[in-house]
């Protein structure tokens, strides 16, 4: 019979192996690939001399670095907006929904039943020149010609991404609010704090770790987005994730695509480390 340690090992080893095989190993392969000197048939058994040429090319191309900055900024906006919009949803679920919280939580998760691609494609129907929003505005008489800016613009990409991420962002905040000891709110009330004061001085600080987790959960994948800008973005909405895809797919240069991916990974890790140093989550939680 398994002891406590044995059980723990039994439970923990499989996910470790899984992550090593399907997360760590591909990342290592990408890192190795980024050091390859040339394109051509990929044969790891053949000798090759590692080089930083691909990194020099990527970093030395101003347009690529500019895209990395723009993508980071867009991810920042998306993460901030999704977190801000998810916060009231999580608050409602944690403090106001009462016995119906599971039902509302289920409703929040309903969009996940529809494929990501379909949800993004649906926004094309909403934002398109002859889409729902333009048609409605024309019907109201607010506009006479369809608004071009609604689709194939950075705004369209941001709007779509925020929509996609809101349900994800609400979950960590909801979990954090669920852990708040209600007696702290009662104590604050007993000491004369009004509803707003209790919210700002008790609920918000105690839920901030959840909000921070939401922010990063949205920020990290958004910085490398390429599907959404491809579907609702235009010529002027290129993102760094599309650059990586293009280097792999259109330039047939897996080495430079890998280098671009590693640069993005390093930047993301750096930004997250920087943010976690500025925002001390453990201190916030106490």
């Amino acid at each position: 019979m398994l002891g406590r340690r044995g059980l723990l090992r039994f439970l923990i080893v499989p996910p470790y192996l899984w992550l090593a095989a399907f997360l760590l190993a591909p990342v290592v392969l990408i890192a190795i690939m980024s050091l390859r000197p040339e394109v051509g048939p990929i044969n790891f058994a053949r000798a090759w001399q590692p080089t930083l040429d691909q990194y020099r090319t990527i970093v030395g191309t101003v347009a690529y670095m500019r895209q990395l900055g723009i993508s980071a900024l867009m991810a920042l906006i998306v993460a901030a907006a999704a977190t801000a919009l998810a916060y009231p949803i999580a608050y409602f679920l944690a403090f106001r929904a009462g016995d119906r919280a599971p039902l509302f939580l289920f409703l929040l998760l309903v969009p996940f039943a529809v494929s990501f691609l379909l949800r993004v494609m649906a926004w094309r129907l909403m934002l398109g020149t002859n889409g729902a929003i333009n048609s409605f505005l024309e019907w109201l008489g607010v506009i006479h010609d369809p608004l071009d800016l609604l689709i194939y613009s950075r705004a369209a990409v941001v709007i779509t991404l925020v929509y996609v991420w809101i349900p994800f962002a609400a979950l960590p905040i909801y979990a954090a609010m669920g852990r708040i000891d209600r007696r702290q709110l009662e104590a604050a009330a007993d000491l004369g704090a009004g509803p707003w004061s209790r919210f700002w001085r008790v609920t918000v600080p105690l839920s901030l770790p959840g909000a921070a987790a939401s922010f990063f959960m949205v920020f990290i994948p958004s910085i490398g987005e390429y599907v959404t800008p491809r579907l609702v973005g235009g010529s002027e909405t290129y993102m760094y994730g599309q650059l990586i895809q293009d280097l792999f797919g259109r330039a047939a240069s897996w080495a430079s695509g890998s280098a671009a991916a590693v640069i993005m990974l390093l930047l993301t890790v750096l930004l997250v480390l920087l943010a976690t140093r500025i925002i001390d989550l453990r201190r916030l939680a106490t």
Partner: protein
């Protein structure tokens, strides 16, 4: 030390990294691709071929109507598809170790697969439909005097335009006309951009100089704000917007032209003074294929009447079977393929082969244009 602490040690990761790095930097392999394929072929001759086939295709071409003759003749064969988005993607997947037996790409990219030992020569004497393929098409599948590829689909590239919004288009420079700002769509492809600029400026597209490429890059960077978007899928983000009226001027293939005509959209397909472009799709059999005979049968059947006919009548692509093309009478298709214009081929530029250096420079240029 707790169990968790022990498990937190990164030994599994370290072992894996070491294993991968050893494999990556190993010097044990001096095998050339040609030798590898030769030994593979030797072993193939001893063992019976598996009754399964993997086809590396452009997305959309996996439709069973494109290979219906093979499916009917080989009902037990297991045909699987890997999909690529463009020629560079297909080449990248082949270079990356795709297990495809058959792969599909377009004119301009013939040399790379031969140079890199990724393709095997085709024994055309085993093909029953080969005599229906025009010699000019057969020649496109030859490299260094050997038949490595089978031509299959073909078509034109020109300017597709909305006749209610745009007067007659007579030049490729319509793609750069600011009057159509926000309603232009260029294909998302570097070599295509170089081709268009070469036509407009009279450059020799097989010998583009560095200065010309720099000027082409500037030209497309300036064109970028005029573009609604770069399309990358004819039936996903080009045709729907041509038919909705969002796109007025587009770099397009004749398939979208025929689709729009069938839908009653007011469109025309330009005969630019610089000439249209024409392309031909080619199939090759992988040097490492486990099923070369089945692969050959698959390609032979693709040239058969029904499969080729479906490409023409259902998807509006030309097909290399001359008998099928001769039987086209549908007025829309006659118009789309300019079958009623005997001079059309005289004013058509066939896509020339590109070198690896040109391909890399042009795709890098295009990536910079998009990232600008």
């Amino acid at each position: 030390m707790t169990v968790l602490d022990k498990l937190a040690r990164p030994w599994p990761a370290v072992l894996m990294i070491l294993a991968v790095m050893l494999a990556a930097c190993g010097t044990g392999g001096s095998t050339t691709p040609g030798a590898a394929s030769a030994s593979a072929q030797e072993s193939q001759s001893k063992a019976p071929e598996p009754n399964e086939l993997t086809v590396l295709e452009w997305g959309g071409y996996e439709d069973p109507k494109f290979w219906t003759d093979f499916a009917d003749a080989n009902p037990t064969a297991d045909v699987n598809f890997e999909l690529g988005n463009n020629d560079a993607d297909i080449l990248g997947l082949m270079e990356g170790g795709s297990e495809a037996d058959v792969f599909h790409f377009y004119t301009g990219w013939q040399q790379f697969y031969v140079d890199e030992g990724l393709v095997q020569e085709i024994d055309t004497s085993k093909l029953t439909n080969w005599d229906k393929v025009p010699d000019s098409f057969k020649a496109l599948g030859q490299v260094n005097g050997k038949q490595y590829y089978i031509p299959w689909d073909w078509g034109f590239t020109s300017i597709l335009y909305n006749t209610k919004k745009v007067p007659e288009v007579t030049s490729w420079d319509a793609l750069f006309n600011p009057d159509y700002s926000g309603h232009i769509a260029m294909w998302d492809d570097g070599p295509a951009a170089v081709t268009v600029s070469s036509y407009v400026h009279g450059y020799d597209e097989t010998a583009i100089t560095d200065e010309q490429l720099a000027s082409i890059e500037q030209e497309w960077k300036q064109q970028k704000p005029l573009n609604l978007h770069y399309w990358d899928s004819e039936y996903e983000n080009l045709c729907p917007e041509v038919m909705s009226g969002d796109i007025w001027v587009a770099y397009a293939w004749q398939g979208c032209y025929a689709t729009a005509l069938y839908e009653g959209t007011p469109v025309a397909y330009a005969n630019p003074k610089e000439g249209r472009n024409s392309w031909v799709g080619l199939y090759g059999i992988s040097a490492d294929s486990d099923s070369p005979d089945l692969a050959l049968k698959f390609l032979d059947d693709k040239l058969a009447e029904t499969s080729c006919g479906n490409a023409v009548t259902l998807f509006y692509y030309g097909c290399a079977n001359a008998d099928v093309m001769a039987a086209v009478t549908d007025p829309v298709l006659v118009q789309a393929f300019s079958i009623d214009d005997p001079s059309i081929l005289e004013n058509t530029n066939f896509t020339p082969p590109v070198t690896a250096a040109q391909r890399d420079a042009w795709t890098a240029m295009w990536t910079r244009v998009k990232a600008e």
